[in-house]
Every structure is written in structure tokens, then in C-alpha cells.
């Protein structure tokens, strides 16, 4: 069996809470990303999807635990200096807000050229140190490479725009520049954290197309974070649904969309606006990360919850397809050995007693 490009196993991230307690923002998450594949992490704010992404190259200061296998090694075991070589050259990030990802006082071209040069230095140190004699293929100048990158991400008149500053670009163009920056190191894995959330729908469509084309051209793996199931449907090969630091469900994109299995996934679908069915918001508030409920993290808001949902740990990732082994997995007791998923489909009261969660700030 060949190794996955990225393999995350039982990954956890701990922050110090305001009042001294521990906050496990990510609490035992496992998934893989293959070359040429797009995996979407889907969930609400606070589900831990961004922390998961940023922890890959340790962009967050949290205590990390578990295993992140990439390129034959555990990234969690690398030193800061070693990680610096991973960032950009092997794993590159595209963030939500392109404004914040570009330095306003340098021209776009300079920023790109810097990224290209930096990557060259890294190669120089680790790679061809021997005198290989024939320097016949003189490398393009960093400036040319930078212009070529701008051209690849669809900036018109790239050579003319090279000297422009970020504020002279529109939001969609800025995000294109950020993508060019991410590509400068020719990474194997692109981590895109809500890359289109700050953009208009028309521009979002353009950027999603661009990411798809670049992925085809370069055969990179993409880890894509979004809270929008519509976007996930457009880009994902596989989907991981997260809630409160745990994986609720994961599977191929058609498995998730044709037969969403976890009550949380189903609830997410019911609150998508504009697709015909009446809006049905998820009752209750998101959990307090400093004091997560026992059992399934979603059970206090779940309309199907039964008493055993609140017991023990988050349920195992059971097979969603009772017929046999599939990679469509659901962390819900109804898919476990003692229950039948058909019970989930039965009508249940929509406002469960359990939906009332104590609010933060309530003392009693």
C-alpha cells in the first residue's frame, strides 16, 4: 500500500483557557489527503477546522498531540528550523482574507519574487550542492518566474502589474496573488482555509475554477476548509464534517451529499438557505469548548438524541453502510452495533428537552 500524501491520526490541539482550564480545540481527528485530491473540512466556527489546518505547519501556538504524517515523517516531531523548509516548499497555505496575507508596503511582484528566491535558496542548500558541470539550463530570473506565476493565476498583463501594490488589486485579484504566492514554492499540498468566503459569489466561482485547474495541472493535494456545503459540493472529492473538535462524519462527496448520515450533517443541510425546503436552524448554541459535553458532542442540540448519546466518549466512526466495509464513516450511536440507523429517520419532536444548554456566563 502506498502512503497517503498527508495522513493525520488522532490529532489533538490544546489551548490554555481564559480561566486556566484546558481547551481542546481539536480532539482526536483523523483523515488522509491523497495527491491530486481535494478533501474538504466542513464545519461551523469553533469546530476546529482552522486549527487543524494551521497546526499542519505549526502556525498556531498550541500543544499538539497525535501524528501528522507527510513526506514520510511526522511533522509534529520536526524542529522549527525543519518546519520552515516544509512551509511553502511542501505545504503552502491560502488564507481567507487576502488583504491580510499581503504586505501593503511591498509591490506584489516583490513579494512573489521573495517567495521564489527563498524557495531557490532552500533548494540550493538541501539539493544540488555538487558541481553538476552543465549549467546549460540557466534558470529563469526570479522576476520572470514571478511574472509567470501571476500569469498562471490569471492576472492580466502580469508584467505590467508586477510593480503594483496590493491596494491596486481587487479582492478577487488579491486572492489570485495569494494563490500565486502559495504556488511559488511548488508545494505538494495546498491548504486553503475559506479562500472564497470573503469574496463575491461571481468571484468565488472564478477562484474555485482556478484552484481546480491548478490542481489538475500540478497534481497537488488540496485540503480545503469551508463552512459552505455548496462550495464543498463543487470542489471536494472527500468530505470530513467536524463539530466541536471531533469528526462527525466522513466520506466521499457523493456519499455525504446523497446520504448524509450523522444528525449534525443533516442539520447542516437543513439550514442551507435558498434551496427550496423550509429553513430549520439548529437549536441551541454551540458548545462551550472549555467544558464539552460527554458522549457525542452534538447530543445537546441533536433532535434524535437518546440517553446513551450523553454517555462515555464520542462514539466510534461506524460504517454508515450497514452492508459492508465502506469509507463512509459516522460517529453516531445509531450506526453502532446496538442500534438501527432507521430509527434516526423516524419523526422526532423538533425541540428536544436536551436542546437547552447552559449559556456561558450563567453561574448556577
Amino acid at each position: 500500500m502506498t502512503d497517503s500524501l498527508l495522513s493525520v491520526r488522532n490529532f489533538r490541539a490544546r489551548f490554555d483557557g481564559e480561566t486556566g482550564g484546558d481547551i481542546w480545540a481539536v480532539d482526536g481527528v483523523s483523515f488522509d489527503v491523497e495527491r491530486g485530491e481535494t478533501v474538504c473540512l466542513v464545519g461551523e466556527s469553533g469546530s476546529g477546522k482552522t486549527v487543524t489546518c494551521e497546526a499542519l505547519t505549526r502556525l498556531v501556538s498550541a500543544d499538539l498531540d497525535g501524528e501528522i504524517r507527510f513526506g514520510g515523517r511526522n511533522l509534529l516531531g520536526l524542529s522549527e528550523a525543519q518546519l520552515r523548509e516544509v512551509r511553502g516548499a511542501e505545504i503552502a497555505h491560502v488564507f481567507q482574507n487576502p488583504q491580510g496575507a499581503l504586505d501593503p508596503v511591498y509591490s506584489v511582484g516583490e513579494q512573489l519574487r521573495e517567495a521564489v528566491e527563498r524557495n531557490r535558496d532552500d533548494l540550493g542548500e538541501s539539493g544540488d550542492s555538487g558541481e553538476s558541470g552543465d549549467s546549460g539550463e540557466s534558470p529563469d530570473s526570479p522576476r520572470e518566474v514571478a511574472i509567470d506565476l501571476l500569469d498562471q493565476v490569471g492576472i492580466p498583463e502580469a508584467a505590467t502589474r508586477y510593480d503594483d501594490y496590493p491596494h491596486e488589486f481587487s479582492g478577487g485579484q488579491k486572492q489570485r496573488v495569494v494563490i500565486a504566492l502559495a504556488l511559488a514554492g511548488d508545494p505538494d499540498l495546498l491548504v486553503a482555509d475559506e479562500p472564497t468566503t470573503a469574496l463575491d459569489v461571481t468571484i468565488q466561482a472564478q477562484i474555485l475554477d482556478l484552484l481546480g485547474e491548478l490542481q489538475d495541472d500540478r497534481d497537488v493535494g488540496v485540503l480545503f476548509v469551508t463552512h459552505d456545503l455548496g462550495v464543498a459540493a463543487q470542489v471536494a472529492d472527500r468530505i470530513v464534517v467536524m463539530y466541536a473538535g471531533k469528526v462527525m462524519e466522513r466520506g466521499g462527496v457523493s456519499q455525504i451529499f446523497d446520504s448524509p448520515s450523522h444528525p449534525y450533517t443533516r442539520a447542516l443541510f437543513r439550514c442551507l438557505p435558498g434551496w427550496g425546503s423550509a429553513l430549520d436552524p439548529i437549536p441551541g448554541d454551540p458548545i462551550d469548548p472549555a467544558d464539552p459535553p460527554g458522549g457525542c458532542r452534538f447530543h445537546p442540540r441533536c433532535s434524535a438524541a437518546v440517553p446513551e448519546c450523553g454517555e462515555g466518549e464520542q462514539p466510534d466512526l461506524y460504517d454508515a453502510d450497514s452492508q459492508g466495509e465502506s469509507d463512509h464513516r459516522v460517529s453516531c450511536v445509531f450506526y453502532g452495533p446496538d442500534r438501527n440507523p432507521a430509527e434516526l429517520d423516524a419523526e422526532r419532536p423538533t425541540t428536544p428537552e436536551t436542546a437547552r444548554v447552559p449559556k456561558e456566563g450563567d453561574d448556577d
Binding site: D200, Q206, P273
Partner: protein
């Protein structure tokens, strides 16, 4: 006939671009350029468009937060003349507003209760106990609890703050609510809660709502009617169901098809809208959408494949945009030949129409020799389209609702 709750007629808001110590006006940003619409009691109207189309300026201008350049806003049949402070106060009592970012719309040093009650004291309700009572009641109606009045904004989540913002907008019992992107800063699951709350509140208070959004799915969810804006103008308007099911303007079609469908079997394949919204300081001639329109009308006497025609227009737009020297400098750089230009704009090596091909070849030759001006003039003369020449009027279409597009001209004539 009874008057509309809100009636906006030919509203314009231009921002002058000034230069030099005398602040001489050298140009104008036409953020809103002649917009008319109505909102009736108990009705939700959506104003939808991309960033920069002027939809938020419509909101701030009609609220009197900015002085309109021209046009007339009347509320309940009375011109909302905001120079008179008594009228202004009355207008503000009857129109509530909710903004996109609930965090920056609350004073962090005031409790939520104080913030929600503030309009009451401004409008002369001095009875403290009564204020408290009203606030407690409203907080519960928007899905918070009466005790939440004692808490500070930072203790609330984004969705809860937006609920509190709604309570504040409704505290004076207004007739109209102007909501500028009220859910776009929120998670989908939280959006659903706010949208259904808006729906409930509307029924309860018989509110008129003007909802400003860039998101067609939000509009589809709660709006009765929709007006689609592009570069300061309304290009199509009508009942939401009708407009979304049978859009008459190519821009509306593009907006509708850009919303990602939550269905992996429907991955978008339609032609994308190219480029960004042009600058409102120098809007394109004729139909403002012609620089991006996938369905732009072909010049008379030629027969293009539509995609090729769009590509040729893209070249023309780029030629028109480029300041002298810019464009040709890049094109002539290195080994760029006519073929290189075709590649860049996705124009095939040979256009199907011989006459068109001859014109294009000639223009490309002048371009390659550095004479972009004659290339621009030649293409402009030969390939002129009605879309760049005449500005289309908003008029009835076969579908029963109006749109401003020359594609409907023939049918009208």
C-alpha cells in the same frame, strides 16, 4: 391609490474626485446612478449585486446617513426631507437599520440592554422601568433572554449580537427595517436562525424590509421581490420566484448560476463571468455590463461564435482600458506576435466569419507593430455593438417583469 411605505425615485449618489489645492472636481464616482424602487408594508425587498455595485450606498443614502446627489425618497407618502431635524427624528423612529458586522455596531462599554434602550431615551421615553420592560420583552422576542440585558457585547456570539442588533432596530416599533448584509458575517447554521427570525418579526410587526445582500440564496429564502443592481443601476426587478426562475438579464443569470449548488452532481459548467466590476468612476458606455456580458450582442454584418465574440470583446476592453504604452509594451515584448494575443484572449487562430477574420487580422497586425491606437479604432469601428452604444432602459419583458437589456429590444419593437 395608497402610497408605498418607502418610495425611492431616481436616487443618485456621486462622490466627487477632487484634485489640487482648490479641490477642483476632476471626476465623479457614480456609486448610485438613478435607482428607483418601492417597499410596501409587510413586504421584503432584496437589493442584490456584487461588491461595488452601490447597494450599501443606497441604504446609507436613503437613511439620510449621506446626502443624496439627486433623487427623492418618500416615506409613507411624505418626502423624507432630512434637513429638518424634527422630520429627521420622526423618519429615524420609523425606520430601523441593521448592519453587517454586529461587533462594530455595539459600543463595547455599554451593556446590551443600554444599547437597545438608547433609542428610547433619545426619543423621549424617560421612564426607566418602562424602558427596561420594553427591552426585556424585545430581547425575548429575538430569541435572547431578559437577563441578557445586563451583559456586555463581548459575552455574546456573533449570531446573538446580530439578534440584539435586531432588537435595537425594532425598539422604536418602526415600519421599515433596512438590513445591510445582516447574515453575511455569520456561519450558515447561524444565518438560518437570523433569517427565520427576520421572517417571524416581519409577520409579527407587519414590517417592510429592505434586505441588501450579495447572496442570491439568502434573497431567495426571504424576499418577496428583488432588484438586481450592477454599477449603480438596477438592471432587473420583479417577484423573487419569477426573477430567479426566469432571469431576463444576463447579469442576473450569471449571479444565479454562480451560487454553488449543494449538489456534487451539478458542478458548474456554465461560462463564468470574466473579470471584476469596473470602476464606477468611469463606467462603461452603453450597457454598463457589456464589458463582462457573456451574451453581448454581435455587431451587425458579422457572424461570430458567441464565445469567440466575447473573446474579441475582451481584447477590445483591454485595449480601451490600457493607458497608452502599457499594453503594447507588454505585447511587443519578446516574441509576442498576433498569435500570442489570440492565445491570451482565447481567440481561435481563424474566426469562422471571413469578414470578421480579415478585420481582426488587420487589427492584430497593427497591434504587433506597436500601433494600438489604430487597432483600437479599427476594432471599435467595425465591431461596434448596440450594447456599448446605447444604454438600455428598464422595460417590461415577455416574462412579465422588467429588465434593462438590449436582448429584449427586438421583441419590444
Amino acid at each position: 391609490m395608497t402610497d408605498s411605505l418607502l418610495s425611492v425615485r431616481d436616487l443618485k449618489k456621486h462622490y466627487p474626485i477632487t484634485e489640487g489645492p482648490l479641490r477642483k472636481e476632476v471626476g465623479r464616482v457614480r456609486a448610485v446612478d438613478g435607482v428607483s424602487f418601492e417597499v410596501e408594508r409587510g413586504e421584503t425587498v432584496g437589493l442584490v449585486g456584487e461588491s461595488g455595485c452601490g447597494k450599501s450606498t443606497v441604504a446609507t443614502t436613503l437613511m439620510g446617513l449621506e446626502e443624496p446627489t439627486a433623487g427623492r425618497v418618500s416615506f409613507d407618502g411624505v418626502a423624507a426631507d432630512r434637513r429638518d431635524s424634527v422630520d429627521r427624528r420622526e423618519f429615524r423612529r420609523r425606520v430601523g437599520m441593521v448592519f453587517q458586522d454586529p461587533t462594530s455596531s455595539f459600543d463595547p462599554r455599554m451593556t446590551i440592554g443600554e444599547s437597545v434602550a438608547e433609542p428610547l431615551s433619545i426619543h423621549g421615553l424617560d421612564d426607566r422601568a418602562r424602558r427596561r420592560e420594553i427591552v426585556a420583552d424585545l430581547l425575548e422576542r429575538v430569541g435572547l433572554s431578559a437577563e441578557d440585558a445586563e451583559r456586555y457585547p463581548h459575552q455574546f456570539s456573533g449570531g446573538q449580537k446580530q439578534r440584539a442588533a435586531l432588537a435595537r432596530a425594532l425598539v422604536l416599533n418602526p415600519d421599515l427595517l433596512v438590513a445591510d448584509e445582516p447574515v453575511s458575517a455569520l456561519d450558515v447554521s447561524v444565518q438560518a436562525g437570523i433569517l427565520s427570525l427576520l421572517d417571524d418579526l416581519q409577520r409579527e410587526f407587519d414590517l417592510g424590509i429592505l434586505l441588501i445582500s450579495h447572496d442570491m440564496s439568502v434573497v431567495r429564502e426571504i424576499c418577496d421581490r428583488v432588484a438586481v443592481m450592477y454599477l449603480g443601476e438596477i438592471v432587473e426587478t420583479g417577484p423573487t420566484e419569477e426573477v430567479l426562475a426566469d432571469p431576463q438579464h444576463p447579469y442576473t443569470r450569471a449571479l444565479v448560476s454562480s451560487v454553488p449548488a449543494p449538489d456534487p452532481s451539478q458542478r458548474a459548467s456554465e461560462a463564468r463571468l470574466s473579470g471584476d466590476v469596473p470602476s464606477p468612476s468611469d463606467p462603461p458606455s452603453g450597457c454598463r455590463f457589456h464589458t463582462r456580458c457573456p451574451e453581448i450582442i454581435q455587431p451587425e454584418g458579422y457572424d461570430f461564435d458567441q464565445a469567440n465574440w466575447r473573446a474579441v470583446m475582451d481584447l477590445r476592453v483591454a485595449l480601451g482600458d490600457s493607458e497608452d504604452g502599457d499594453f503594447e509594451g507588454e505585447l511587443v515584448d519578446g516574441e509576442v506576435r498576433a498569435g500570442g494575443i489570440r492565445d491570451r484572449f482565447g481567440i481561435p487562430d481563424e474566426l469562422g466569419d471571413e469578414g470578421a477574420e480579415a478585420v481582426l487580422s488587420e487589427a492584430l497586425d497593427s497591434l504587433a507593430s506597436g500601433d494600438s491606437e489604430s487597432a483600437r479604432d479599427l476594432l471599435g469601428r467595425e465591431f461596434e455593438t448596440v450594447c456599448e452604444r446605447d444604454s438600455p432602459e428598464l422595460r417590461e419583458t415577455e416574462s412579465g417583469h422588467p429588465a434593462a437589456c438590449h436582448l429584449h429590444d427586438e421583441r419590444a419593437e
